[in-house]
Symmetry: C2
Subunit: 477 residues, 2 copies
Amino acid sequence: MKDQIKDITSRDVDFAKWYTDVVKKADLVDYSNVKGSMIIRPYGYAIWEKMVAVLDKMFKETGHENVQMPMFIPESLLNIEKEHVEGFAPEVAWVTHGGSEKLEERMCVRPTSETLFCEHYKKIIKSYRDLPKLYNQWCTIVRWEKTTRPFLRSREILWQEGHTMHATKEEAIAETKKMFKIYEKFQKEYLALPVITGRKTEKEKFAGAEDTYTIEAMMYDGVALQNGTSHYFGTHFAEAFGIQFLDKDNKLKTPYQTSWGCTTRMIGGIIMTHSDDRGLVLPPKIAPVEVIIIPIGNDEKVDNCIDLIKEKLKNADITFKVDNTDKTPGFKFAEAEVKGYPIRIEVGKRDLENNKITFVRRDTLDKIEFDISNIENISNDIKTLLNNIQNEMYDKALKRRNSMLYEAKTMDEFTYIANNKPGFIKINWCGNTDCEDKIKETTGLKSRCILEEEVADGNCPVCGKTGIHKVYFGKQY
Amino acid sequence: MKDQIKDITSRDVDFAKWYTDVVKKADLVDYSNVKGSMIIRPYGYAIWEKMVAVLDKMFKETGHENVQMPMFIPESLLNIEKEHVEGFAPEVAWVTHGGSEKLEERMCVRPTSETLFCEHYKKIIKSYRDLPKLYNQWCTIVRWEKTTRPFLRSREILWQEGHTMHATKEEAIAETKKMFKIYEKFQKEYLALPVITGRKTEKEKFAGAEDTYTIEAMMYDGVALQNGTSHYFGTHFAEAFGIQFLDKDNKLKTPYQTSWGCTTRMIGGIIMTHSDDRGLVLPPKIAPVEVIIIPIGNDEKVDNCIDLIKEKLKNADITFKVDNTDKTPGFKFAEAEVKGYPIRIEVGKRDLENNKITFVRRDTLDKIEFDISNIENISNDIKTLLNNIQNEMYDKALKRRNSMLYEAKTMDEFTYIANNKPGFIKINWCGNTDCEDKIKETTGLKSRCILEEEVADGNCPVCGKTGIHKVYFGKQY
């Protein structure tokens, strides 16, 4: 098990290798013989289940309902989207045969389900009484990626896709913003991820959308991870599909549409923000197991103490596991660190003689002595500690993220930072795509998002014209 | 909305048409343009979500963990199963192209995932310490069915598949039985479905299994619905895939395997057992909305009373909905009946003047007056009523089911019942597949299961030899 840690490449030596080492060693995924597809192992899937539970509750509390659409899309249906979205050329998996028969029309496995939702909405939306429709779907989608990385880019992606229809533009825009605020809240409060949020530029938005809002997290290496998007579609698709409703004023109108999604990629975001050279570090609110209890030595007193701790934690709804395997304590400690359980409780015979047990925080590796004469309060202490870990993980990530935010007034300054410092660079942007293109060509950085709550206060470093937006640029996964 | 009821074909006139009418009118599914695939609409999906939540908890409480395998299976991998299971010829959907490129090897969308689990187990099972492995997967599978019916037979099926590995035969057999008992408990206690359980005959078991245990429900029309199966595989697949572990005695051994699954077909089972000519009837424990509150007339007192009821129900965790649309009360009542909400609360101005509101049970359509001076107790009364509905729905279904169970001592008797009475027929069976075949040829009935807790007490009606098992026969969906 010590080897298990030694096997993890140092994060500062080779970040990409470190990432895949952590993912593998923490038993989150396994590679399968199906190229480009991964197996999400129980521990990795349990993290996703926790995410799904929280998000699903947030969606339902805001009036959304879950549905399940077919997983196949006939080519002609997919083409409707293609015709109406410039540059839309999905790399998809094509089903050509059913059983031993060739299909009359080939079908793809859904890369996203706009077209299926639109077809269904066309059938079920007739009147203003049928609006809004606030549908969401949890499912797997397939995109035929050439190069893949666990959670970040794979052929099969677990995600949710919200597709909503509204009677008015204002309502649809409010929905678009509401959902991206829900993503922001979820990522901050549950994943302990500081995120920068805003609107995508014309160049970077989803081609079929009027506006795309994005949640941009910055990884340990300064590279951006787009962790969720919320699109306002206007009436674009609704027109293409001929969706109309009879409004209160007895006029036929076209409804306004939104779409929003997030994926298992968020698991990658947690890893690349919080984890370290010893393995995974999980925010308590998303950890499948909050506390790992490790006995040191075979002893009746140790067993009794652990039984008591278990009872207290259970009554307080704190999730825990006891490592009763026949491995050595050292092995168990190392494994607990690789797996990223937020708190480890060590219960040893010698410590017990001094009325002590030890809590070890995974995030800081700090040790905290706990007086067992105070055992009645153990759940409260653990809860407080879990809460502190959650908050301090966020603060730490925020501090680090902020230390990698830059602002450039000139193109020279921009280029220097881009070439020498990982992170995001803010500029006053004139709003012209040419300037965005030039930055991309020169430095490889793409615009992350337009900061909606900041006002431009200078000229565009590329063209020198008056800036109209503050925009962050950065590399991306 | 009255028309909505009129549109439902009578159950006794055309059972098949009645079924699809209910499924459509209750907004459970919609047909999609993707042939053979259905859209599970929010109300239908909410029923599935309730089922998943209960079953998933039962699985986890018995030590199972969820994983997510790839959705594709390369042809060569699928062929390993084919080679080792006689008669295994899955009608599957074949993916032949990724993007614009032809795949070197075509892949199918999983019709079931034995092969993927076996491949993974081969990699991760090395020692007795790695056993048991108790994995489950919630996912969608695809089978290329020619004729389809909502929930009962479709190309895409939402299901769970458990795949477990054990060090000993005894443990694997115990697991097989444990899981089929969990299905039985779930279907009785939550779905209010009386089920007959037992072992499949050699002829009817899954070809790759040593033993298949089945849960057989009987629908309103006397036809069987196989609502879940649990297989004991022995070492059959483990050997084919070369899975071995080093046991405590330092010897290499092959582990013993089980597999168990149930699907959205259970929703079909609920409909065909409990529903009636007015639409859906849902057992309260699986109903997404337990109570529908319907105001009669626009009146402040009505509104105030409803606010009070809402508060009481909310505090008691009773799920409810208020129908505040501008439809007439008659419309709303009819719609509430089509949707199968277990209890309807009618709040009308005139009734309120007499201190009354009315509860209407969906299952019996009985009306119960409730004295609003007793409002503090409304949640308790509703809870008791929900509980009674749940139990009485089971009792009613059981009584009806029992009235369609027959026993035949001679082949003449068997044939007469088979031709004249819908239901299941029990016989003393000699254990010979020829006799089973003969019954099938003569009457179209297949064996449902061997009753493990009953002892044969006579001769086989087909061949006249000594019976060794009691076996039920019946038609099936």
